[in-house]
Symmetry: C2
Subunit: 214 residues, 2 copies
């Protein structure tokens, strides 16, 4: 008898993810799965964005990392609730981990839940976490070829944030090549150029996020 | 009956990796598994290093990517043999892929085989490819916290190349923090600061590589 383990894992994960999604929709919480390479600037973007949210748009954050609680501590300093998941070696978050983290948060009055995945441009794309949308963070210093080299990740993005735009002048990043890669991989995704250091692009990002509240 | 699939996969992979390692040792070829995040500069480092190798130290390169043959084409332009593996979604190379790639190369007279893994700071660390040593490429623009946040990768490195040192002045990278992370994760690893753009550190890297030829 053939044992098809990977399918079973994914099926169980998707069922749990649907429960999480239903719970969050019922509570009128918009949820984003934020993915990208190690060091692309996922946490730095949240540290910059969260203080810009209107007072009535409260956020909470779930942080996924192999080890350390550094990122959840960074987020907590912005004044919002944060929960740290340590995957202990696993290369992505899954729905069961997110479910456990949600149980540690008080979701009353929360309008947006950001779920920052493990830094990895491959594995996280295969696992639904109950999110309603996906944001992929790429950065200028990683190079302009990432959409075509990591298509599974970019194909499923609603929004691609091209971060570290302030570093552009110090690199040989070819913007036309990046957009060409996005056009062939996922022409429907929004792309916003940002810098978590200078704040460039954050007004546009804030509008994009607020327009997608339930 | 319990079906312990992950262990079986790893066991089969390790057996095949041992065969590859024996083959390469018999042919007096030193082999390096090069790992790091997407965009850390793995290919750029090889493009810079390979032309510096003495004439009698011929190299060949195996490139691993989810998609495209961009990297093998870049390497081929340095004048050495290169083979591209497309993993079609898999987040790491395995020994069977490397075995197939080796069969496309002429190893007569080759002194060093570089195996550039899929850009990923997690999964590749668990899979032996038949390599005799491991090089992890980290970069200044990824931040100083990577050794402690991705310990499984850094724990198994013989050499850590901290690339993009020319970008240091444009970031808030804390070198003490990086070395502290390395000391607690893997105090035995060599660490060399390099820039594939300016060439900084490449004399030291070349010496390090040449000292480890069989």
């Amino acid at each position: 008898m053939k044992v098809n383990v990977m399918s079973d894992i994914l099926k169980a994960n998707d069922l749990l993810a649907r429960d999480i999604e239903n719970l969050l929709i019922e509570k009128k919480i918009m949820s984003w799965n934020i993915m990208g390479s190690p060091g692309a600037g996922k946490t730095a973007l949240l540290e910059k964005l969260i203080p810009m949210l209107p007072a009535q748009t409260a956020a909470a954050v779930i942080e996924g990392d192999l080890a350390t609680s550094n990122d959840a501590e960074r987020i907590a300093r912005t004044g919002v609730q944060s929960a740290q998941i340590n995957t202990n070696g696993a290369c992505h978050l899954d729905a069961a981990m997110v479910r456990s983290a949600i149980d540690t948060l008080n979701l009353d009055g929360i309008a947006i839940l950001f779920i920052e995945n493990v830094g990895n441009l491959v594995c996280p794309s295969s696992f639904q976490l109950g999110e309603q949308g996906r944001i992929v963070v790429s950065s200028i210093t990683e190079g302009d070829d990432k959409p075509e080299k990591y298509p599974s990740m970019f194909k499923k993005a609603d929004l691609v944030l091209l971060n570290k735009i302030d570093m552009m002048q110090h690199t040989n990043f070819n913007m036309d090549n990046f957009h060409k890669g996005m056009s062939s991989t996922n022409p429907d995704a929004s792309v916003i150029l940002v810098s978590a250091v200078t704040g460039e692009g954050f007004d546009q990002l804030l509008d994009w996020i607020l327009q997608r509240l339930p």
